[in-house]
Symmetry: C2
């Protein structure tokens, strides 16, 4: 029987976040001690690990909820899970592309800077000048 703090540490989650997951129905209401404190078992540890891992991988809580629903009703086909994964893969590749472009830009900014002299600092120009060519009207993320 794990306390909420232990569960938090084991999964790299904040205690409040676990309680938040409970309020939105992503985590079940756990057992309580006589004093009213939450106690968790292996099932909850697994489930929270799943959630956290999904979040770290960029899934929205909504997508994670869908996957958990699939897990809770294993009699269904995995086509749904597959399509969720495919959708996610696209977004992930998009993000990687943009971040790689950013990395390049930042490296160039840093290499062109570092002279401690305004005349040679092009950080701001770089960011401004490339604004239009890179505007792709996509959502920024979040």
């Amino acid at each position: 029987m794990l306390t909420i703090g232990t569960l938090a540490k084991r999964t790299g989650t904040k205690v409040q976040t676990i309680r938040y997951y409970e309020t939105i129905g992503l985590m079940p209401e756990p057992e309580r001690t006589e004093g009213g404190q939450r106690r968790y078992g292996q099932a909850e540890l697994d489930r929270l690990s799943f959630v956290r891992h999904g979040r770290q991988l960029g899934f929205s809580l909504e997508a994670i909820r869908d996957l958990l629903d699939l897990a809770d009703n294993p009699a269904q086909s995995c086509a749904d899970a597959d399509s969720i994964a495919r959708q996610q893969l696209k977004q992930v590749e998009d993000r990687i592309d943009r971040l790689v472009a950013l990395r390049l830009e930042l490296k160039r900014m840093i290499s062109e800077c570092g002279h401690d002299s305004v005349a040679q600092c092009r950080v701001l120009e770089v960011l401004r000048d490339h604004a239009e060519c890179l505007t792709d009207h996509n959502s920024i993320g979040g």
Copy 2:
């Protein structure tokens, strides 16, 4: 003289977002027509492009504000801008690493799935089983 809608289109921003940037002081209060509608010029287009580009590249509004402050006071050294860029680069590389790991995971999930049969669908197991090894107690981002 550009309307807010035109500015929005040119920069891939929503109209409300531009007004929001104004309320938080990231964009200046623009000229108005007699009727009270906002009209923008090249300076605002540049500034907003800068902001959006920064956002697309993963900068927080706070970091962007810092950079804009530097741009507004060009008499300072660029050491500050440089350190902002360096900090950002680290975060970007972190995110890339995590996303690349995710991509791999997702690809494996998809390749192992697609059989439309529960017995062979390992999506959920993959996500759960790898939860602990990848827990790194880092912030998830945002």
